[in-house]
């Protein structure tokens, strides 16, 4: 049986790992190469590197970080942040990334997704969708979510579910769905939108934003709750709160299909 994935995410700024609280108030937690190696050894199912400030500030050295991380790990590497052009994707894939996550640029230029999928294959193209729940809705209606870009600072007027369907029609191979309301809260994923997207699209969905406990990972992945194919988390792993193995163990004990924790073998 195909297993649900646990993906530690390293938010990178100026070559260092940081964890943003609502993408603000960053604090430095270390070297991305060391962190990625550690997660790989712990048995992370995939590793995600996000250049969190590239969109708003613009920077070049993230490609170098990817080039240094990629040769050190033996699991899939997904990278994202600040991708504007086809050429940015080419450079990141050449630097050793397996998948590239496109966020704002997908909104400002949807045909980019189609071109990227055609050129590199859908399996290499993730569309990152940041969403915010709209408030002040009439009582009985289903919640509505809007797609936001530029680190949550800009509205797009796009309704999240329709946008997710659209990007998969354009060729996105996977959706990285982040709730901007939950991100940094350690309050748990936004299960409603995660489940709705996971049910609606024909590609895998990675839940992101809000993990503070192992139970939150379980919720994000469980049927009837988040139903995501993969659970992304940052701070609970970075600060040594839990190891990947502890997370896997917890999920196994609660009946979730995950790859068992890594056992030590000589490399």
């Amino acid at each position: 049986m195909l297993k649900r994935r646990i993906i530690p995410c390293l938010d990178v700024k100026n070559g260092r790992v940081v964890k943003g609280v609502h993408f603000k108030g960053l604090r430095d937690t270390g070297d991305p190469v060391e962190a990625a190696r550690a997660y790989d050894r712990q048995g992370a199912d995939e590793i995600c590197l996000l250049d969190i400030t590239a969109t708003t500030e613009g920077r070049e050295n993230f490609v170098d970080v990817v080039r240094h991380v990629a040769p050190q790990i033996f699991c899939p590497l997904t990278v994202g942040g600040g991708i504007r052009r086809e050429d940015d994707v080419r450079r990141l894939l050449n630097a050793g990334a397996d998948k590239v996550a496109v966020n704002s640029a997908a909104v400002t230029s949807p045909p980019l997704i189609k071109r990227l999928a055609k050129r590199y294959g859908s399996q290499a193209i993730v569309v990152a969708v940041d969403v915010k729940r709209m408030d002040a809705l009439p009582r009985d209606e289903e919640p509505l979510y809007e797609v936001v870009i530029h680190g949550g600072t800009r509205s797009t007027g796009l309704e999240a579910l329709r946008w997710c369907e659209q990007v998969t029609e354009l060729g996105a191979g996977e959706i990285l769905l982040t709730s901007m309301d939950k991100d940094g809260t350690r309050d748990g994923y936004d299960l409603w939108i995660t489940r709705e997207v996971a049910r609606r699209v024909p590609v895998p969905v990675i839940a992101s934003g809000g993990v503070g406990s192992l139970e939150h990972l379980r919720q994000g992945l469980a049927l009837g709750e988040g139903e995501a194919d993969a659970a992304l988390a940052a701070s609970i792993f970075h600060f040594g709160l839990f190891t990947i193995a502890q997370a896997k163990q917890y999920l196994l004990e609660h009946g979730l299909p995950v790859r068992p924790p890594a056992t030590r073998h000589a490399a």
Binding site: L2, D40, A70, P71, F74, C75, G96, D98, Q123, P202
Partner: protein
């Protein structure tokens, strides 16, 4: 002294991580797109990402396909990875049908749409591609897969390991004599993948 291994660069995706994994397990590796170098190699690894199409047609009918056939027919160890394994078979139903190298009997088929799997008392829709970690039988070990097409091998004796996704049980690793293949990505499968590559290298250096 280990014999140098040849990694075939035929434009079917990035070779860096496969090379890195082979180095990790102690193999001296040369990357080449020169069919003559491939034809004279004593151990060949042929990785491929993506799908059958114009590019694979060119390989199959061109000098590189001929070079790889020579290596295999001579009895030297050959490992096809992912699309590289699929290309060892007769062909694919992909995009109107494409030919493979035809060394092993069988066809590549697309996973059916709308497959489901039971999970507890609930049913879950399966997505295509089959992407992520899945187990192989008989060992139960996990490897990383990314593919929308699978090998339907005609001869069960060619199937070394099998994997199940939804209703489909497919060949996740094949072996016949000196010919090896894996549908998964050993270079992305952490310790399990490195062990697989090491076993191939050791088995091929008698």
């Amino acid at each position: 002294m280990a014999r140098e291994l040849t990694l075939v660069d035929s434009g079917l995706g990035n070779l860096a991580s496969v090379e890195r994994a082979l180095i990790q397990v102690g193999s001296a590796t040369q990357i080449t797109d020169d069919p003559d170098k491939v034809a004279t190699s004593r151990i060949v690894v042929f990785p491929g990402q993506g799908t059958f199409g114009k590019q694979t047609d060119n390989i199959v009918s061109g000098a590189m396909g001929e070079a790889m056939r020579m290596v295999i027919q001579r009895g030297d160890p050959f490992l096809g990875i992912c699309l590289g394994m699929q290309m060892l078979f007769e062909g694919s139903e992909e995009a109107g049908g494409h030919k493979g190298l035809g060394i092993l009997k069988g066809q590549c088929r697309r996973f059916p749409e709308s497959m489901t799997t039971a999970e507890g008392d609930r049913v879950r829709k399966l997505k295509i591609p089959h992407m992520g970690w899945n187990e192989v039988q008989p060992s139960g070990e996990h490897y990383y897969f990314v593919h929308s097409y699978y090998v339907d091998a005609a001869e069960s004796s060619d199937v070394m390991w099998s994997t199940t996704y939804g209703d489909i049980t497919f060949a996740s690793a094949i072996r016949r004599d000196n010919i090896y293949g894996c549908q998964f990505h050993p270079e992305k499968s952490q310790q399990s993948g490195l062990r697989f590559l090491r076993a191939f290298l050791l088995g091929s250096r008698q």
